[in-house]
Amino acid sequence: MRASWRQRVKKMAAEMLDVPKDSVLDVPRITLIGGLQLYVENYRGIVEFRDDLLRLALSEGHLHVNGKELVIKQIFPTEVVIEGSISGIKYLD
């Protein structure tokens, strides 16, 4: 998928100004804390949720979270907090 002109300008600006890209680009920021807690900011929605798998929709592609006894600790329009024993996260286009 070819990025639009607007996207490219933003990316360039982010690189030149040396700021974190998530604050400029519309991409998720994923924070994993020791396999116990996972913060996903800028997600788009839940696609599937089971206690061993969580599929999240992102602005581009999907995020798969594998683990055991997964719990959505909190959920907000742009942020989701997951707890459980997380064994893997996979980024899919």
Partner: protein, 405 residues
């Protein structure tokens, strides 16, 4: 985190079980419309448990319908639910509250005003009346009462007969401790009387307080003889004679003093034993073994548990066995005489009044017989022999002469 929980508790939240094939969609739509979920977990295939605020449930209805999801309330937590439950039990709560309030009200009132103290010049009822005037009465509010210092001052001002007033508030009871000022001096008795002798004796000293001495020093008096006369001026004036007459009296004491005496002396060795007594039957619990003493004295110390008038039948007994020795003492004759004199003196002193003294002792006769000293002692004592005796005036006295007294 605690702050979050407190906030949720304040708003009230529910634990929901949601069931349906389109639960992720439900979560997305609810989140998008500002409904907050937390602690979402899968419990069964297509069934999830989650928490949400109580007031968000209404907004969730149409999303539930549109996604074909069914919910079941599992728990309702937080203050609004507690309040609702409390409202359902309002009469119970009202009762509890009434009890608390009445308890508080009743304990903040004075229920009892008590006057203590040995009062002679004012009656306790008067003190209570005055206390009522300053606000100390039944049903008075304790909080409205002034300080006890002020109350004491007010009571004292209103009752000059009192020397001290103490006010003490104990719970619902007020104790007023009152003390009279020194009671008025009792009037001197004026009935005519003489002081007469109680013993055959020799006058040693005579102190007249009122009246006229009828005897002189060195005079031998008989029982009943007038010592201080209350009748003056040949019976025209009659007074209440008072005074003290000290005279020499004699007491004879006969004694037998054995020269050999046995006395028991503790050696200092002791053995302890411990028992439990069941209805008086002792059962030893500690301190077994033979007691190695030939001669001993036993002291039992029972410790009983009593509740009111009931004495527990099982008691603890501490027994102490003290070894003793019998000692023989032999007195010489001089020692025996000395002992006899001491006995005689003690005996005479009990017969004398409180102001009596033993002046001297003379051994009249002594004899050693069968290991015993037989002795007769003459004790010379000084004592007050006066005794008041009232009399009726022989010649009727002039009225003015009497009032002058």
């Amino acid at each position: 985190m605690l702050g979050r929980w407190l906030l949720d508790f304040w708003r009230g939240y529910v634990v929901l079980s949601v069931n349906g094939a389109r639960v992720p969609e439900l979560i997305n739509r609810a989140t998008a419309s500002g409904i907050m979920f937390w602690e979402i977990r899968q419990t069964q295939e297509d069934t999830f448990r989650l928490r949400m605020h109580r007031d968000d449930v209404k907004r969730l209805r149409h999303i539930l319908r549109e996604t074909g999801t069914r919910i079941h309330f599992e728990r309702k937590l937080g203050l609004p639910f507690l309040a609702w439950r409390a409202w359902r039990r309002k009469f119970f709560l009202a009762g509890a509250l009434t009890f608390l309030i009445s308890f508080y009200v009743l304990t903040s009132m004075v229920w009892n005003v008590e006057v203590v103290g040995d009062l002679k010049r004012v009656s306790p009822e008067t003190v209570q009346e005055v206390a009522k005037e300053v606000g100390l009465h039944r049903w008075a509010w304790k909080d409205k009462l002034p300080d006890t210092d002020i109350l004491q001052g007010q009571l004292l001002d209103k009752m000059p007969e009192l020397a001290f007033v103490g006010v003490k508030v104990q719970g619902t009871k007020v104790t007023i401790q009152a003390v009279d000022k020194i009671p008025g001096t009792t009037p001197q008795p004026t009935d005519p009387q003489n002081i007469v002798s109680t013993k055959h004796s020799t006058i040693k000293e005579i102190f007249v307080h009122k009246g006229k001495a009828a005897v002189v020093r060195g005079q031998v008096v008989q029982v009943g003889q007038v010592l201080i006369n209350g009748s003056l001026n040949n019976g025209t004036k009659n007074v209440h004679a008072t005074g003290m007459v000290k005279a020499e009296t004699w007491y004879r004491t006969d004694l037998e003093v054995p020269l050999e005496a046995q006395s028991k002396v503790y050696t200092g060795n002791a053995v302890e034993k411990h028992f439990l007594t069941f209805w008086g039957h002792p059962v030893q619990i500690w301190g077994y073994g033979q007691i190695p003493f030939q001669e001993m004295e036993t002291h039992n110390d029972d410790k009983a548990l009593t509740i009111g008038s009931f004495t527990f039948p099982i008691q603890y007994r501490h027994a102490l066995y003290q070894e003793s020795q019998t000692e023989k003492t032999t007195l010489t004759e001089a020692e025996a005489v000395e002992l006899a004199q001491a006995f005689a003196k003690a005996d005479v002193l009990t017969q004398l009044g409180k102001n009596g003294t033993v002046e001297s002792q003379n051994v009249l006769r002594r004899e050693l017989k069968d290991g015993k000293l037989e002795i007769r002692i003459l004790n010379k004592a000084i004592e007050d022999i006066g005794r008041p005796q009232s009399f009726t005036p022989q010649a009727p006295a002039e009225p003015d002469a009497k009032t002058k007294q």
